[in-house]
């Protein structure tokens, strides 16, 4: 339970990564929710039976083959613990929940932050679900270096 000393996951604590082929095929969810807590909206939201959880206190387990990246889970996850990843034409795309003003919109430049809040690069917003469409949790898809998909977990707007 060392992640509870730090507040973030180290590489050896992360769930297995979906393969590069899988990421190139279609979008896939990636869940970082290792602790047994009484929570299950991700399970209830998934219509593809991709989330496994026997008891409400079990951490969710994701089946990358069943997941089709539909984003239902990321819309409702109260822990903001889910991201959606995709690699297309050699570029990485990460979709994350975003709940800050000013809201992000297509074309915005953002700083990419890792799990500890350190800057690891820059990216560009290619799509944003407006907050009013999802009870004030916006979703933003950011284009970035595909190698960063497993590192970046937050973004900050670059003020122009």
């Amino acid at each position: 339970m060392n992640y509870l000393v730090r507040g973030y996951l180290e590489n050896d604590e992360l769930p297995p990564f979906p393969s590069r082929e899988r990421l190139e095929k279609k979008p896939v969810a990636y869940i970082e929710c290792p602790q047994p807590i009484p929570c299950s909206p991700c399970l209830e939201a998934c219509k593809y039976d991709a989330v496994k959880m026997d008891n409400i206190n079990d951490p969710p387990e994701l089946d990358y083959e069943k997941c089709n990246g539909c984003m239902s889970c990321i819309r409702v996850c109260p822990g903001l613990a889910i991201v959606i990843m995709r690699i297309k034409d050699g570029k990485g795309y990460l979709t994350l929940p975003y709940e800050f003003t000013p809201w992000l919109k297509k074309g915005d430049k953002v700083k990419l932050l890792n799990r500890k809040g350190e800057e690891v690069g820059e990216g560009k917003v290619v799509w944003a679900l407006p907050p009013e469409k999802n009870d004030r949790t916006s979703l933003v898809r950011v284009e970035m270096d595909p190698d960063l998909l497993f590192e970046v977990r937050a973004v900050r707007k670059v003020e122009e």
């Binding site: 339970m1 992640y3 509870l4 000393v5 730090r6 507040g7 973030y8 996951l9 970082e32 929710c33 290792p34 602790q35 047994p36 807590i37 009484p38 929570c39 299950s40 909206p41 209830e44 939201a45 008891n55 409400i56 206190n57 409702v76 996850c77 109260p78 822990g79 903001l80 613990a81 709940e99 800050f100 003003t101 000013p102 809201w103 932050l113 890792n114 799990r115 500890k116 809040g117 350190e118 907050p131 009870d135 004030r136 949790t137 977990r153 937050a154 900050r156």
Partner: protein
């Protein structure tokens, strides 16, 4: 100092009014409490301490700590965080000369104790009598809280008697659920809450809730409050009384005051107490300095009244409350310098910690706050590392911040239960003094139930389930609802058991073993 754009909330300002603070006009908006309007106007010192004239600010913002007491329209000792502004209102601080903000005698702080050590008035200046009386009179001017009203109360003073099957005290998630489930089974219910709004703690929780979808997980706390209120509105057999404070339960009769002008005598057949909890504080040097606030107090200021608590905060405690508050402060555009946690690991959910950690907020485990620094309000904080609960000498360092949020837990608001004669027990796992009860929440006082945080500090989801169980059981015992109600009750009991079956429920379950009798 008022918040503008906010990702989750929209602040609707009421009509602009003018209130007078120690004679100075201050702009305020209808719907705001006096304390929040003063805070927005930059007032930080609300009172002075009884003896040493130390400045005091607000702490809890929900009427539980009395740090905000002032004289309002001639009435002394009014908790200004619980009264709402009215045009022309006259507010005066009641400690300090000429007022609490610029207390001339505060300069004497250091020598008061030398001149008048504790108990001095029993020993010094006692003879002759004339000197004693003179000195007493002078000392009284410096100490105490307020002066008796100069005029006789001239407002309305009405009386109403209400008969009901079930009286529910407290309109948070626990109380609302109890009222809904008792009423759905067919009982006539009266629900009372001291606030002008329902929802209890939920009204400041802008984040999405945990739990299962069936218990509205994934939905924001503020929205859960409105959903429950809508469900209540659909029920004709629930009489909702807001701004109604229950002050006693006498032989099954509930006594309350509605809007400060009407005395209610409620005669129910069953009572559900769902009064929630209040915040604990922590002992450290200068912890009474304005700028040291309860986490819930800051949430109230920020999320209910749209007022900025400060520019940079330090959070003490990494339970869910501390972690969520950190995120909420950042959403309001306020910086959080750090979170300190005395335990060797984060107390709340990992996912809540990860949310703020990835935005760059450091979380220092094995650390505590040792001192609030500042003259009239917080200007910085000193923190230190702990080893085996001892401060490591030399590890102290100063963190720049202008407010400190104490998020070290809650204690049940149990006073009414005590007064009603419930058998109580101190159970640390449940947060303090809680009543002995059966699995449906009925206490040792026949027909008196508990639900929610007052029965043990837990979560809104648990409060909702406990409320449902208490409400429906009260109705069943009165002959309502038939087999259907019994089925519902047993289902909720099962859900609640499952909810508590994980590691986060272990503590609760251990605590419940000590107070729940068959």
């Amino acid at each position: 100092m008022r918040l503008g754009e906010h990702p989750i909330l929209e602040f609707k300002k009421g009509k602009e009014v003018t209130i007078y603070f120690n004679g100075k006009p201050i702009k305020a908006y209808e719907g705001e409490t006096v304390a929040s309007a003063l805070y927005a106007a930059g007032v930080r010192i609300f009172s002075r301490s009884f003896r040493f004239h130390r400045p005091r600010g607000f702490f809890c913002a929900i009427g539980k700590c009395s740090a905000c007491m002032m004289e309002v329209d001639g009435i002394p000792n009014v908790r200004t965080c619980k009264v709402y502004v009215r045009d022309g209102m006259q507010i005066r601080t009641q400690t300090g000369t000429p007022d609490a903000e610029k207390d001339r005698f505060a300069a004497l702080d250091d020598i008061i104790d030398r001149l008048f050590p504790h108990g001095a008035h029993y020993k010094r200046f006692t003879t002759p009598r004339i000197l004693r009386e003179f000195m007493m009179k002078q000392m009284r001017k410096f100490t105490g809280f307020g002066n008796p009203p100069k005029a006789v109360y001239e407002g309305k003073a009405e009386f109403e008697e209400i008969e009901a099957d079930v009286a529910v005290i407290g309109g948070g998630p626990g109380g609302m659920s109890a009222a809904i489930y008792a009423a759905r089974a067919g009982a006539k219910v009266v629900l009372m809450d001291e606030n002008p709004f329902l929802g209890g703690q939920l009204v400041k929780q802008t984040h999405r809730f945990f739990g299962s979808g069936r218990h509205r997980a994934g939905t924001r706390g503020i929205k859960i409050a409105t959903i429950l209120e809508d469900e209540l509105k659909e029920l004709e057999n629930v009489d909702v009384r807001k701004e109604t404070k229950v002050f006693g339960i006498y032989d099954g009769v509930v006594a309350a005051v509605q809007k400060d002008e009407k005395l209610l005598k409620v005669k129910p057949k069953k009572i559900v107490v769902a009064t929630g909890a209040y915040e604990r504080t922590l002992i450290f040097e200068n912890n009474d300095l304005p700028g040291v606030y309860g986490a819930g107090g800051v949430q109230t200021l920020m999320n209910v009244y749209g007022i900025k608590p400060g520019d940079v905060g330090l959070i003490v405690g990494s339970g869910n409350v501390g972690l969520i508050l950190t995120y909420q402060l950042m959403q309001a555009g306020i910086k959080v310098a750090a979170i300190v946690e005395a335990m060797p690991r984060i107390g709340g959910y990992f996912v809540h910690a990860a949310k703020v950690r990835r935005l760059g907020v450091p979380i220092y485990v094995n650390h505590t706050v040792t001192k609030a620094i500042g003259k009239e309000c917080v200007e910085a904080a000193e923190i230190a590392r702990l080893e085996n609960w001892q401060i490591v000498e030399g590890s102290q360092r100063v963190i720049d911040c202008d407010f400190i949020c104490v998020a070290v837990g809650l204690s049940p608001t149990h006073e009414l239960l005590y007064q009603a004669g419930c058998e109580m027990k101190f159970v640390p796992e449940l947060g303090g003094l809680v009543p002995i009860r059966n699995k449906y929440g009925e206490t040792t006082v026949n027909g008196l139930y508990v639900a929610g945080d007052v029965a043990g500090i837990e979560e809104a989801t648990a409060a909702i389930m406990e409320g449902r169980i208490a409400g429906v059981d009260a109705a069943i015992k009165l002959g309502y609802g038939g087999d259907e109600a019994i089925k519902i009750r047993e289902e909720v009991v099962k859900d609640l058991e499952e909810f508590r079956s994980g590691p986060f429920g272990e503590r609760i379950v251990a605590g419940l073993k000590k107070v729940v009798v068959a």
